[in-house]
Symmetry: none
Subunit: 191 residues, 4 copies
DNA sequence: GATGAATGAGAATTCATTCAT
DNA sequence: CATGAATGAATTCTCATTCAT
């Protein structure tokens, strides 16, 4: 999810695995998981249907890998020096980075949020997502326990769900929703 | 021997209509719209597949009626005397009622949020939802314009997305998510 | 198929059997046998679906009875005094009567011709139709054997198929097709 | 190991396309369009149901292609040098060729006539058929205007419907109906 | 690795027919 | 006699997945 150099992009392009992943992300996010067909993904990736099954076990495995590899890219970001310590400036930076991350990967987050609202599939996926969420949740609790006497867990949790709410509203209508203004308001309310 | 009276038939119809609607809500919310099959709904309702089509034109019509009749129930609630005026006490009451409404209809709101995150289908449905959303958005703007000098629209928008975020978190894990505590925090932050 | 008096029509109207038959003829001829549903027939007849099954064993039985009762009405017409003797004037009258019969029962003949081109159903029906056809075929052979030395059977057969061809063209586009002019030409060619 | 060449694939496609078309013609003509199921066609073609949809968009598209490709084969025949000029010998040839064409494609013509007697479907198809029919109608009018002073249009129209009548009688009972003898009689009557 | 023809399970929907009332 | 709710088999069509090449 972090910005990629041109060279990295070229490598991904050459790599069939990455090509398929990108095509699938686009098709999934445009059509929704169930309406997205393997055929459409293959056409988007400009390869054959069969080849997808050389790289991925199933349509569901493809979805899982998209979601998880997206999260994996974030992991480093939220816990850079593994100390989980946020200054006030870093808190602002943290929130603003979030916006940037979402803006640069609208397709991904569109898919992400539509997926977490589906029961049936995805028990495994949910666990992994939980795991990841813990990481940045911890950072937030730590921050609030230093700034906000009463109930840091609750504060962190509210911030998390608020950001989810914002992200959902934004990916649903990126042209209209004033995500930056909203984030500034959040910063004011949670500082 | 003699055919059933019109009254008897009307009752049968009303009952079955409700039974199908309930079954569909459960199956839709557990599986998501696309994975929920008419077969599964029929089995849940303990009727035949064909009967569903005596009561609803199509799978999509069934979804529409579920979503819209759910919203219709809310309409009266958010605009009781049609003035859209909220006192501070009413603001608290408003938020707490929201929780109650969500708690009592977890399946419905699970479905509702999974639907608004789907692009493919449902243009008509989205319009109707927008219409409804406007109603309570107006009330909030009105409230904030009396309490919060700076930017009532932004404030109302943030509250709306925050509540959506909370609702989504809650319906995804009703056992764990401390919705009441969260709402209290929201009240504090937005008053 | 012969014109009915007003009283006869009223009797038919009162008679459910006849009502159903009429409704079915209309719906069959407008939609074709397979696309015509029992529901539509019931609606057209302004009765319930179930009642149709009090009078007819099945949809197919209904079709059979329509076709056969239509033919039965013709039987008397073509063999009034059972002698099968046609003068030249009667020959003209015969052909002109045919036109009249078709014009007055477009729906019936539309259905009739669409039915005889379907293999699957209707073995029984075909036999009955054959039987009927024989009747007026005989009359024609008799006529031609008195007027046309060479091959009366062939002449009669050609006239029959020619008339079928005309009838089909007419029922397919009654507004445009100049059936009367055509019949006059036929009279000229076969006299 | 290596994928099939484009040429191989094209051959497979062409073959299967033809196999499906043949099977569909048989099943359609035996059962009528509505009673002919995709399942039956697949079974006749000895392939899976799904494959039919790799080659044809829908059941209706399949019917259209059968009918239209059949007509296309005729186009060249009736308008060889595009002048629409028929000598008397050519007129005889024309009629005799017609018989041959029908005899060699009984299934096709059975289907053709059952289709033009159906209202429901097929508006597009009917238009195309009209277009084609015009072509040979023009040739006939031209012929009769040179041979028959009175009313060439009527003459051409009667010949057309007569031939339709003959064709229908023949395809309904190819074993019994003396099509050749009939055609000779037609030639005599229309020359 | 790569292709895409082929499969078959399953989806939504229709509709003739039954039957309790 | 009459009703229409209810059934379930059959239909068209889709699509993830397989596999010969």
């Amino acid at each position: 999810m972090s910005p990629r150099t041109k060279k990295q992009l070229d490598e991904i392009k050459k790599d069939k695995h990455g090509i398929i992943l990108n095509a699938a992300l686009i098709v999934f996010s445009e059509n929704g998981y169930h309406s997205a067909s393997i055929s459409k993904i293959a056409k988007t990736a400009e390869i054959s249907k069969g080849l997808i099954y050389n790289y991925f076990e199933s349509k569901e495995a493809l979805l899982n890998e998209i979601i998880l590899s997206g999260l994996a890219k974030l992991t480093g970001f939220f816990n850079p020096n593994n100390d989980g310590f946020l200054t006030e400036d870093e808190f602002d930076l943290f929130l603003n980075s979030l916006t940037k991350i979402i803006k640069e990967n609208i397709s991904y987050w569109k898919l992400y949020y539509s997926v977490i609202l589906q029961h049936s599939v995805l028990e495994l996926l949910k666990e992994k997502i939980m795991e990841f969420t813990q990481g940045y949740f911890t950072i937030l609790i730590n921050y609030f326990s230093r700034h906000n006497s009463k109930n840091p867990e609750a504060e962190a949790m509210l911030l998390t769900t608020t950001l989810d709410g914002l992200a959902i509203a934004y990916v649903n209508d990126p042209e209209q929703f004033p995500i930056d203004e909203m984030i500034q308001l959040v910063i004011k309310k949670f500082k």
